[in-house]
């Protein structure tokens, strides 16, 4: 039986094999050299070439796929992260697509695009909403805060700091939505808004002190496929209470947990 892992010696290769390997090696080295020296130059040149081809391409007049102007165009002016932006959009454009595709604010993420995951959560007029189910056309005159608008210059928002401190994410895809949601959620708690877990519904609205169960319930519209929930809850709890949350995990001690393994 041949063990391919035990075949390091090129002398055992046939001439053909050696030629292929040599060629591969050379082209790979060439490629790596080019990339390390002029990565951006090469990519930019490619893009420019593509753009040029596209620009010179004439669509036949009878083509059914001829590009058209925005269909059912609507004009919207909104205040995004403190800046007034005027947009002309196809009526179908959601707030999420307007942010990502028209304004270059790609922090808000498109997860499910059906209002089930919460990764597109942004804050509109002080309330967390799903930007994937909000038509941009309905946002005339509204104030939108996205993840890009939470920090003040280089100073991160306390919720952003806390997510980093407690490792409230793994892949990070749901994180902008989680953070926007959490920021608005703590404001809701301050205003005394109810949740499904509220006991005293008939009482007057007053600031709510949130248990971990309450945080989980109020954040249930934001899913995390990596399962960073315990750390997300810790991060939110620290911002909510202003006190540090003790870590509850510890490294496995040698010998102690052997039986369990």
């Amino acid at each position: 039986m041949t063990d391919y892992n035990e075949r390091p010696d090129s002398e055992e290769l046939s001439d053909d094999e050696r030629a292929i390997l040599s060629e591969l090696g050379e082209s790979r080295r060439k490629f790596l050299g080019t990339v390390s020296a002029t990565t951006f130059g090469v990519l930019a040149a490619q893009l420019l070439a593509e753009q040029e081809i596209l620009a010179n391409y004439r669509v036949p007049e009878d083509a059914v796929f001829a590009p058209v102007a925005e269909e059912n165009a609507v004009s919207v002016t909104l205040n995004i992260n403190g800046t007034k932006r005027a947009l002309s959009l196809d009526s179908r454009v959601t707030l999420l697509d307007a942010l990502r595709e028209k304004l270059g604010l790609t922090g808000s993420k498109k997860g499910c695009d059906h209002g089930q995951c919460g990764s597109c959560t942004v804050i509109v007029d002080g309330r967390r909403v799903l930007s994937c189910l909000t038509l941009a056309a309905t946002c005339e005159g509204k104030t939108v805060t996205t993840i890009e608008g939470l920090a003040k210059g280089d100073d991160l928002h306390p919720m952003q700091e806390a997510f980093i401190k407690y490792d409230g994410f793994q892949c990070g895809y749901c994180t902008p939505g989680q953070i926007c949601s959490a920021v608005a959620m703590l404001d809701e708690a301050k205003r005394g808004q109810l949740s499904y877990l509220s006991e005293n519904i008939r009482g007057k609205a007053r600031a709510v002190k949130l248990s971990d169960d309450e945080i989980r319930e109020r954040m249930s519209g934001n899913l995390c496929r990596c399962g960073a929930y315990p750390n997300i809850v810790k991060a939110i709890r620290e911002v909510h209470t202003g006190t540090e949350v003790a870590e509850t995990w510890e490294f496995v001690k040698e010998g102690v947990n052997d039986a369990a393994v």
């Binding site: 179908r92 695009d113 309330r127 799903l130 309905t138 949740s195 519904i201 008939r202």
Partner: protein, 325 residues
């Protein structure tokens, strides 16, 4: 998503007229359901009339009780002092549904008009009488664990997904409707949703172009003795397998009046009239609650995978009533 014309209405009569004038037009309020359906190509309107600018979002007390605007957001309704104090059942039911993001967007009118979440209704590759009348029901022989046990027909076995509607049904709500000809009309909330019969595609009492403007909830003595139970696959952010809105008016330990409605079991919020009638004048005991539940579920017919819902409904009724007391 297919292209559509977008316009903004400034008053209810104008909005109703605009939608009535185009059979492919639809109202747009919170958008949380209609946009989803449009992305899935299940709903195909060529015109959306945005009604968010219409002044129908007030929540105010009236001599008869409370008026809740159709365009008030779910969040604002659940947290309104008048609702919290006098109709906590409504607050509870609203808060049991969706997520805070969606409740911030969704309006009351849109909530009660939302479509079923039947998998086969959403899947345009399969038959569905609701989506394409006469094509057949795929759910009746499909994965129907979460489907109806009451009032279904061979044409449709889907359930109404709203929690809010279950509380509104229990609270003897009336619905004010703007008609396309400029007039208005009022119907009992229990008549807003219809059982599927042979026309599941037409399961609301509103004609095309008619729009809900407000809900009237009469005064009652249930505030201290009401409860909403929701049983679901996840602890939060999930539709009900079974839910129960229970409200009691008590004289000592005797039930003067009972109101019970079930969610997740039929194509409409299921008012448990038989159970209510049985409980009136009886002692508020577990034994009586169990008898009432038994009576109400007598007409239940399970599908292949949802027989569990019958026992679950009975127990949920008992639990809601016990919590209400």
């Amino acid at each position: 998503m297919r292209p559509f014309k977008y316009s903004k209405a400034t008053n209810a009569a104008g909005a109703a007229k605009a939608v009535a004038g185009n059979k492919n037009a639809k109202f747009l309020s919170g958008g949380t359901n209609i946009l989803d359906l449009m992305k899935e190509d299940v709903a195909r309107p060529d015109e959306l009339v945005d009604i968010n600018g219409i002044a129908s979002s007030q929540i105010r007390s009236t001599p008869a009780g409370i008026s809740v605007g159709a365009l008030a957001k779910n969040t604002d309704t659940a947290n309104h002092p008048l609702v919290r104090e006098n109709y906590p059942l409504l607050s509870q039911a609203i808060l049991a549904g969706a997520s805070e993001q969606i409740r911030n967007m969704a309006t009351n009118g849109g909530n009660v008009m939302q479509q079923v979440r039947c998998l086969y209704f959403y899947d345009t590759a399969v038959n569905c009488n609701r989506r394409e009348p006469g094509s057949g029901c795929s759910a009746i022989v499909g994965l129907n664990r979460t489907y109806a046990i009451l009032g279904w027909s061979e044409h449709c076995v889907a359930v109404n997904p709203s929690d809010m509607a279950v509380a509104l049904a229990a609270l003897d709500t009336k619905v004010n409707i703007q008609m396309a000809d400029g007039k208005t009309r009022t119907i009992p909330f229990t008549e807003l949703h219809r059982l599927p019969g042979d026309a599941p595609h037409d399961d609301k009492a509103l004609a095309h172009g008619e729009m809900i403007t407000s809900f009237e909830i009469p005064k009652n003595k249930f505030a201290a003795n009401s409860y909403y139970v929701k049983v679901r696959d996840r602890a939060s952010y999930s539709f009900a397998l079974v839910s129960v809105a229970a409200a009691l008016e008590l004289n000592g330990k005797t039930i003067t009046t009972a109101r019970i409605a079930l969610g997740g079991v039929a194509n409409k919020p299921w008012r448990a009239f038989d159970a209510e009638k049985f409980l009136a004048g009886k002692a508020a005991t577990k034994e009586n609650f169990e008898k009432a539940a038994e009576l109400e579920l007598k007409s239940a017919r399970p599908l292949e995978f949802n027989e569990y819902k019958i026992e679950l409904s009975k127990r949920a009724i008992v639990r809601a009533l016990e919590k209400a007391v």
